[in-house]
Symmetry: C2
Subunit: 220 residues, 2 copies
């Protein structure tokens, strides 16, 4: 496939970060189209973006005429259309494991710490900053405790979440660790998560996908 890929994302969005990693791991050329989630009242609410993504969330990926939404669906699409290198294992049980690890992050941790959720807690429920921080840390810690057990207790775990090649689970884990650090969650209880995160950080595909490396990130 040679059609051009355009990612509509935001430097600090965990879900966009996952897709950046996947695009880079596959060695694909892609164009970054930043959608600022706060500026202009949130550019994700602008009519031209809503027409593309009625959820008014990032990321969206344009592949020629086709627009894809939902980060995990996007990665599965990339896996089907650009299979090399694979981000999912070849065997059914391995794929089920990697998808479960990815969904643990994408369904059970990340949605609870999303910007729109924190805004609702603040604006509608009057939850102060300290309690919003505790909320965010609680859901990451709860998820990471399970993730650590699932990674540490399984021989299928290798240098990365599954074996010795990076894939979909790593593309979800690393952005969530980034968020954990942002919320100052102590990471002592998650040695396997830390080890895998460090292994990923050695790879160019992950480094250039990092929030601070994006053109739309604020100057340091």
């Amino acid at each position: 496939m040679s059609s051009s890929l355009v990612l509509y994302g935001y430097w600090r969005s965990s879900a966009a970060y996952r897709v950046r990693i996947a695009l880079n791991l596959k060695g694909l050329a892609w164009e970054n189209h930043p959608v600022h989630l706060v500026k202009d009242g949130g550019q994700q609410h602008a009519a031209d973006y809503v027409a593309m993504n009625p959820q008014q969330l990032v990321p969206s990926l344009r592949d020629g005429e086709q627009v894809l939404t939902q980060s995990l669906a996007i990665v599965e699409y990339l896996e089907e259309t650009r299979p090399e290198p694979p981000l999912l294992p070849a065997d059914t049980h391995g794929r089920a494991r990697v998808r479960a690890l990815a969904q643990l992050v994408a369904c059970d941790i990340h949605p609870l710490g999303n910007l729109r959720v924190l805004q609702y807690l603040e604006r509608e429920l009057g939850v102060g900053e300290a309690h919003r921080g505790a909320w965010s840390r609680h859901w990451i810690a709860t998820g990471f405790a399970a993730l650590e057990t699932m990674l540490a207790g399984d021989a299928a775990t290798g240098r990365y979440c599954h074996g010795d090649a990076p894939g979909l689970a790593d593309a979800c884990l690393v952005p969530q660790v980034y968020n954990a650090r942002r919320w100052k969650l102590p990471m002592d209880d998650y040695p396997t998560i830390r080890r895998i995160d460090a292994a990923c950080a050695e790879l160019e595909a992950f480094r250039v996908a990092a929030p601070e490396a994006q053109a739309d990130a604020p100057a340091p």
Copy 2:
């Protein structure tokens, strides 16, 4: 495959409900193993269940020696191991659309209305019943507004979410509509969602998967 399938679920769990629908749509024989999420301080926290599912959430699916977790990963696994009838379309773009619709529900609506989240709002943040109801309705309404647009505005939508055969997106939509009714969300703004939900309700696979049809549901 002839190995026995055991579903560890809870009658009212939306995620378990999805898997029940998928198992039924595929015409598979499966055994129900209820895990009561409230009784005994939550049976999902019992040691033998935690050993199987470190997240202490339902559902889990046992297939012979293999234990699968995360509802969407389970459905993908069933799709790979028992491909007929398919719950995902044959074409890549169709699969991406169905997965995105499923994840809209499974990542962006359902996790916010989960029992453990409502318990946290109540116990840790002192959020009263009325505000918890408003919270639940808010996230369902936000997700349904986008889902309605995506369904109504796309020629790929048929009698069901994608074409004229039920599949993964319907298996996610119907349990979420069940939850919406439980929270008394007015459904007037979602005619396409209501139409598809009604079409699914005519199918045996959906009817016998309904919460009230489960052995562990309280007597009416």
